[in-house]
């Protein structure tokens, strides 16, 4: 069952300065992770939309593999102010033709020039969201595992 992403994450996804990466595995289980500028919210604001420019890319293969066999993929979004989030989701549809595909095809070529092509518009349903910003994760670890860490951190000298 899909989830609604937090407003902060949705804002980060809309910010063109945010970095986004997508990770999946192939049929042998080998991981593959790439920067993917063109990850955004879809027109309904519920799912992620990911533009894949290259037909023969490993990402295209891995997303197909995930859709066929219900294997999750991961997306990470890093906002320029330092906050980052991981999204785990499932590809649920790929547009290789039709109105949405053609609209995005024209937009890609307008943005990237006449050499650019578009292979697919992937729709990814988010299933989990987790903020991965260091300070947030640090607070979480301190809360749940207060005694975990190097002992010098706990000495009187350290506290001074």
């Amino acid at each position: 069952m899909g989830i609604r992403l937090s407003e902060d994450l949705r804002t980060a996804l809309r910010d063109p300065a945010s970095l986004k990466v997508i990770a999946g595995v192939n049929r042998a289980g080998e991981p593959h992770v790439v920067f993917k500028e063109a990850i955004s919210m879809d027109s309904e604001g519920r799912n992620l939309q990911c533009l894949e420019l290259l037909e023969t890319s490993q990402t295209n293969r891995n997303l197909t593999h995930s859709l066929w066999f219900q294997r999750k993929i991961a997306v990470n979004v890093l906002h320029p102010k330092g906050r980052s989030w991981q999204i785990k989701g499932l590809p649920v549809k790929v547009h290789i033709s039709g109105p949405l595909f053609e609209e995005q095809y024209i937009a890609v070529r307008n943005r990237l020039g006449p050499e650019a092509d578009l292979s697919a518009v992937w729709i990814i349903e988010p299933l989990e969201e987790k903020e991965q910003t260091y300070l947030v994760r640090l607070r979480e670890e301190r809360l749940h595992y207060p005694l975990v860490g190097h002992l010098d951190r706990f000495t009187r000298a350290f506290q001074c």
């Binding site: 891995n62 066929w68 290789i96 039709g98 053609e102 024209i106």
Partner: protein, 418 residues
């Protein structure tokens, strides 16, 4: 619905069972195989959902012609095309020996169902803009060039000369019956075709490949020279539409001599070549395809395909098979295990020579000589798709010109997506 084989569901694995038995094979591809094997009908609501302004509901092909409000074919959520010939739901008999799937609309979603259970969400093939245009000669362009979601198809010669001689046509083939029924021109006009192509290519992002496929034309100074002349002429003129020497194009034709192949490759934009051997067994080929057997022969067909790889290059030549027709009686197999072993062994010979094998699913069309026969089980056809995919990987043969989007009619090449 009468005409279904008795208790067929109890005698073979269900779709769900086949998917569970083959966790390494895409369930979308298995669904595609079964829909093609059994056929599909549309509820009234599903037909009403096929807005003719948005979806392709008309087509003229060599195997089928239709002008109604029934969608031409289906797309699954992973982009898999199901090239099907929708059957009229009012028919009282079951033409393919098993009850067809039903497309319905429930809660605003268009879905494929079987026994009232949802199988998959589907959408209809989008209509290309040129379908609404007419040529300068006044013909509807959809009658000149057919379209799949990403491919154009041109059938210059709407007949097949093997059907001119009694009992020489391929027994599973509907070309002659389709031609006789629809009273259409036997040969398309080059001008009409070029005008339609030019119009179709105006739609950005719509097309990735142009396929040429029609019946055999046997005449000429040498056997098939007329057919080659026809293609060389058209392809040469098509060159004016493009700014590159080669374009992703596929010619599905009769098996040509080396000289004929070189004319096509050296002198035109053509990039890929297919000659359908139809069945991977010489004895069954001789019975199923008597015209091809008499004029060229099974071994001659293979040798011409092997030569084509030298001319067109690796990954640019393949052969189509009508998978399942190897069971057509009285010449066909009676054991699925024997058929699978034999077919894959012969497929390996083609693939080891660089010739891809493109699997289509035998559809027992009502207007063919084999209409009363029963195609094999879903389990068999799925194992064959998986076996062909494995062989294609083993020999590193990648027929990207005939894949899930440049064609959409071959379960085994769909599997090469991952």
């Amino acid at each position: 619905m009468s005409g279904a084989a008795e208790n067929w569901r109890e005698k073979e694995l269900s779709l769900r069972e086949v998917v569970a038995a083959h966790p390494q094979i895409s369930p979308f591809v298995i669904i595609k195989i079964d829909v093609q094997r059994r056929g599909v009908v549309f509820s009234q609501a599903a037909k009403d959902a096929a807005d003719p302004a948005r979806f392709a509901v008309t087509m003229r092909g060599i195997y089928e012609e239709k002008e109604d409000n029934i969608p031409n074919s289906l797309l699954l959520n992973d982009g898999t095309s199901i090239v099907c010939e929708p059957m009229d739901p009012d028919i009282s008999v079951c033409p393919r020996g098993r009850e067809p799937y039903l497309v319905e609309v429930r809660a605003g979603r268009t879905i494929l169902t079987d026994l009232d259970q949802e199988v998959a969400e589907v959408e209809y093939w989008p209509k290309p803009r040129y379908f609404d245009c007419r040529t300068g000669s006044g013909k509807p362009m959809w009658q000149i060039v057919n379209a799949r979601p990403q491919r154009l198809g041109i059938a210059m010669y709407q007949f097949c000369d093997f059907w001119r001689d009694a009992a020489q046509g391929c027994k599973f083939c509907a070309i002659a019956a389709t031609f006789q029924k629809n009273k259409k021109d036997m040969l398309l006009s080059e001008d009409d075709v070029l005008e339609t192509l030019a119009e179709a290519l105006k739609q950005p992002g719509r097309l990735r490949m142009i396929q040429l496929c029609c019946g055999s034309m046997l005449g000429g100074r040498n056997l098939l020279d007329d057919e080659v002349d026809m293609y060389v002429s058209l392809l040469t003129r098509m060159n004016a539409l493009f700014n590159t020497k080669k374009v992703l194009t596929q010619l599905i034709a009769t098996a040509y001599t080396e000289k004929q192949l070189r004319r096509l490759y050296d002198g035109t934009i053509l990039s890929s070549y297919t000659a359908d051997v139809e069945v991977l067994n010489e004895k069954i080929f001789n019975w199923l395809c008597p015209g091809k057997a008499a004029r060229i022969g099974y071994q001659g067909w293979k040798e011409r395909l092997f030569k084509a790889v030298e001319i067109f290059g690796d990954n640019h030549v393949n052969t189509g098979i009508v998978s399942g027709v190897e069971f057509a009686g009285p010449a066909g197999f009676t054991s699925e295990e024997q058929a699978l072993e034999s077919t894959l062994r012969e497929a390996e010979d083609f693939l080891s020579h660089g010739v891809g094998v493109a699997q289509t699913i035998w559809q027992t069309r009502a207007n063919t000589a084999l209409r009363r026969q029963l195609p094999p089980s879903l389990e068999y056809l799925t194992r064959l798709a998986g076996g062909l995919d494995n062989l294609q990987r083993k020999y590193n043969v990648n027929t990207f010109f005939d894949d899930y989007r440049t064609c959409g009619n071959h379960p085994n090449t769909d599997l090469s997506r991952i």
